[in-house]
């Protein structure tokens, strides 16, 4: 019960403290920001130990030294790589960390390359190659053959690719296609902007919902009281700042 009320107060205080940045940068916002960073780092560290280091390393390596079943020598290699990474912290031994870093970069580059080629290149190309009277396009399924929509997809791809084709001077047909490509891009950016507004509004709705939730007698009107406290503190910090500037 008490924990519930304290949690409510903390939620409201930190919400309003972070929102106060919209007025201007102030010490309350800074305080909230630093606490957030500290808590996140602590939480991340604990989770890394509990969910990664312990089950993936410690629990597999410890049995090797206790003669218990389930020990895996290969996991020692992972531990060695981890230690090699940490040697980066010391100036004289920092070069050692280049080896595990090289393995990581190589692995990720290869994974990403094959993944991108498979999904974003081949998969998307496959999606673009449509028969003009194909009815099965999931987004634009019409009763009649979706000629206009298919033309838009194929035409849009060709025009946008033309805009990014720099091996020939943009004249004639290439110029027209490239300029049309700009309009396709602009429509895409507009749609992204619209969705961004929607997403930001959704975040605000979440905060407003919480502010109302905790502004009840059960939570001792946390929202109103926290708002008054924060406004007062910001005002005091402004006054102190002005006085300091004068002197």
């Amino acid at each position: 019960m008490m924990v519930d009320i304290i949690s409510g107060w903390l939620i409201v205080f930190f919400t309003l403290a972070i929102m106060s940045f919209l007025y201007k940068d102030n010490p309350i916002y800074k305080l909230a920001e630093h606490i957030y960073v500290g808590v996140s780092a602590g939480y991340l560290f604990v989770l890394a130990v509990v969910q990664t280091i312990k089950p993936n390393f410690w629990d597999c390596v410890a049995p090797l030294f206790t003669a218990a079943p389930g020990g895996q020598w290969i996991r020692v290699g992972a531990g060695v790589f981890g230690v090699m990474f940490l040697l980066r912290l010391h100036k004289k031994t920092s070069w050692v960390s280049n080896f595990p870093l090289a393995v990581m970069i190589g692995t990720f580059a290869a994974l990403r390359m094959t993944g991108l080629a498979n999904s974003d290149l081949v998969g998307q190309l496959h999606g673009t190659i449509n028969s003009l009277n194909y009815r099965g396009l999931p987004l634009f399924e019409w009763d009649k053959p979706a000629l206009i929509n298919n033309l838009l997809i194929v035409g849009g791809v060709i025009c946008v690719l033309s805009y990014f084709f720099f091996s020939l001077e943009h004249r004639g047909v290439l110029n027209v296609a490239g300029k049309t490509g700009i309009y396709f891009l602009m429509i895409t950016f507009g749609s992204s902007y619209g969705y961004t507004v929607m997403a930001r509004t959704a975040v605000l709705i979440g905060r407003v919902a919480d502010l109302y939730t905790y502004n009840t007698s059960h939570y001792a009107y946390a929202t109103i009281i926290c708002a008054i406290i924060i406004i007062t503190l910001i005002h005091i910090s402004n006054v102190i700042k002005k006085r300091a500037e004068k002197t």
Binding site: L116, S119, G123, Y195, A199, A202, V203, V208, L211
Partner: protein, 286 residues
């Protein structure tokens, strides 16, 4: 007169943005309380999402990847919760993993709330039998591809530290071959794009997604190409899913604020553009 007009236009174009913030906040505060029912039109991608879930049979296993954070709770949490509830109602088994740390907390919250709701309705769902939270794992793309080899090797223990060998549901799963459907709730990288790149085509996994509004425009091409079988786009996607389930929730309630906020943004864009062009015109005349 012309001078007054120029001054007014200048004032509009140099308006302190804090007034806009205040306007947006007031609208949110007012219209969160005064709810005007807004029509929710179900889009084709949301309908496909719904259909894919409804086609699942009891006993089949769904892998949910809760790759989102606390700040996008208003967008993704309602759809996550609605989906989990629907799957448990259908007696579909759920395995959740996350590549974002906060996903562990959010998954626990979803399961706690949903199982409590179902228990009140007389439907008891058991951890380890009906659902499992495998928790967080660092490693992004490597984790994704390794799941294709073995779930148990990638996640030797669940979020509570219990060995997966002791969890009945996990005994039924070796890799993606045993997963009927995968649903990703995505806020960024790692998210749906990486799951599509590393898992969808490589392991031929049927995939759905619930994404934030910002990510959604990118997903249409993957839906059109068939790589995604359906997706929910932001808060409006969640509201559409609630409508399809005939269970209005937090997303539907947020539609009034959303609509009025959009209206004010549209009005501000129009007013600022008119002021901009009028000022340009006036300068041209001079």
């Amino acid at each position: 007169m012309a001078q007054a007009q120029a001054k007014f236009l200048q004032k509009i174009l140099t308006l302190d943005r804090r007034w806009i913030f205040l306007m947006v906040l007031v609208i949110a505060l007012v219209f969160y309380k005064i709810t005007i029912p807004m029509p929710v039109k179900v889009t084709q991608q949301s309908q496909s999402f719904y259909d894919a879930i409804e086609q699942l049979k009891a006993g089949e296993i769904v892998h949910i990847t809760a790759d989102y954070t606390l700040d996008v709770i208003p967008e993704l949490y309602p759809m996550n919760k609605a989906l989990v509830r629907r799957l448990l109602e259908k007696d579909v088994k759920i395995i959740v993993s996350t590549l974002w740390i906060e996903g562990v907390l959010l998954t626990d919250r979803v399961f706690n709330e949903t199982s409590a709701e179902l228990q009140r309705e007389g439907k008891v769902k058991t951890y380890g039998v009906d659902y499992v939270n495998l928790g967080y794992k660092s490693g992004n793309d490597v984790v994704m591809t390794h799941l294709g080899t073995s779930f148990a090797e990638t996640y030797p223990v669940d979020a509570k530290g219990t060995s997966v060998a002791q969890i009945p549901l996990m005994k039924r799963v070796k890799n993606f071959d045993d997963i009927a459907l995968m649903v990703n709730f995505s806020v960024g990288n790692p998210g749906i794009r990486q799951w599509l790149q590393q898992v969808q085509r490589r392991y031929n996994v049927k995939m759905l997604c619930g994404a934030t509004g910002i990510m959604s425009p990118d997903l249409y091409s993957f839906y059109q190409s068939g790589q995604l079988k359906g997706f929910l786009a932001g808060l409006v996607g969640a509201a559409e899913y609630e409508k399809l389930l005939n269970r209005p929730g937090k997303a539907t309630a947020g539609m009034t604020v959303q609509s009025f906020e959009h209206l004010i943004v549209i009005l501000l864009i129009i007013v600022a553009n008119i002021a901009f062009f009028l000022q340009k015109l006036n300068r041209g005349v001079k």
